[in-house]
């Protein structure tokens, strides 16, 4: 089937955001069903595509649909990597610990909205954009982000 112009634009948008959407899906679903969540995000993006009015930036809109879909994905998220304590012990033993693994473990302990704030920050969104995605004030997002960073650094990065 030859894709329409609308479908081509949609495919291009997904291609541009593919890696970020995969990361998001992986952090809201377990290892066995993150691909289901990713496909559900694609479907929700497709279904709400016609309602994109251009008031928000396209990327903000993509993250908003993706995050809302992920939050509705009610299956309990599973820890994807080692438990926090395991990683902390690994570090205590003097072995080098990959900061990305520590970050993954930290993210897995967060409740869904905090997880969303942190993931959007890691994807490079500004405070105002995160606030726009979530419908919160930029100030509230800034305070929460500072606390999250401090919690992460206090737990994992003090000795690195």
């Amino acid at each position: 089937m030859i894709p329409t112009e609308r479908e081509q634009r949609f495919a291009e948008m997904l291609r541009e955001n593919h890696t970020a959407l995969v990361r998001l899906a992986r952090h809201y679903a377990g290892p066995g069903d993150w691909q289901d969540l990713l496909q559900e995000i694609h479907l929700q993006l497709w279904r709400s595509n016609d309602r994109f009015e251009g008031r928000a930036q396209r990327s903000t809109w993509v993250y908003r649909v993706a995050l809302n879909t992920a939050l509705s994905h009610r299956r309990k998220p599973q820890l994807m990597h080692q438990q926090l304590d395991g990683i902390a012990e690994h570090g205590d033993a003097g072995d080098p610990v990959d900061p990305m693994r520590m970050l993954e473990a930290f993210i897995a302990t967060l409740e869904p909205v905090q997880r969303g704030v942190l993931l959007l920050d890691l994807e490079g969104l500004e405070r105002e954009e995160i606030a726009d995605v979530l419908g919160l004030s930029p100030n509230a997002v800034a305070i929460r982000m500072t606390r999250l960073r401090q919690a992460f650094e206090a737990r994992f990065l003090e000795d690195t």
Partner: protein
Amino acid sequence: MDWNQIRRQWQNTSDAVAPVSDSEMLADVRQRESKVRNLVKRRDRLETIIAVLLVPVFGYAAWRAGARADWLATFFSLWLTAWVIYVPWHFWRVRRRMAQPRPELTLIVYLTQQRDAMLAQARMLEQVWIWYLAPCAIGVIGLNLAAAGATAGTLIYATIVLAFCAFLGRLNRRAARTHFRDLAAQIDQQLARIAEEYEA
């Protein structure tokens, strides 16, 4: 390592998942979209088919009873005819009123819409007695009374029908409580936490 370095490293992790081709991705979206559409169509069609099949049955019964001047049987046959037309119309009306949560809206608006949709579903199940079970029970018991008269058998039949309706009513109330009201409460908690943490 500072936070900006962590962010950069995060954005450079590809998660080793190659994107699928555009055609595969579009085919998957099209397939899922048509699956959802077909599911809705099938459900609506089933409700209409049941109504279309039952209306002539009860309509004919009403006509026959009317021809015999059996007004009680005519009344209850017409009652049941009206009920089988009312049920799909009620579903259609409730679904039209129930706003579908729109994921492109902000998180708080989306969660509020989701909660409202859950509560609407719960109310529909809790009121199943009023719009589904009671009219059906009245019609069936009334028709049996008109046909057999006030006998012990009619009483037993009415008791069985009412007991079965009570059982279905309880099942629906339970589903409303354990599924939809529980989910609505979870969303409420999430909204309260957001208000507490981010809007204080």
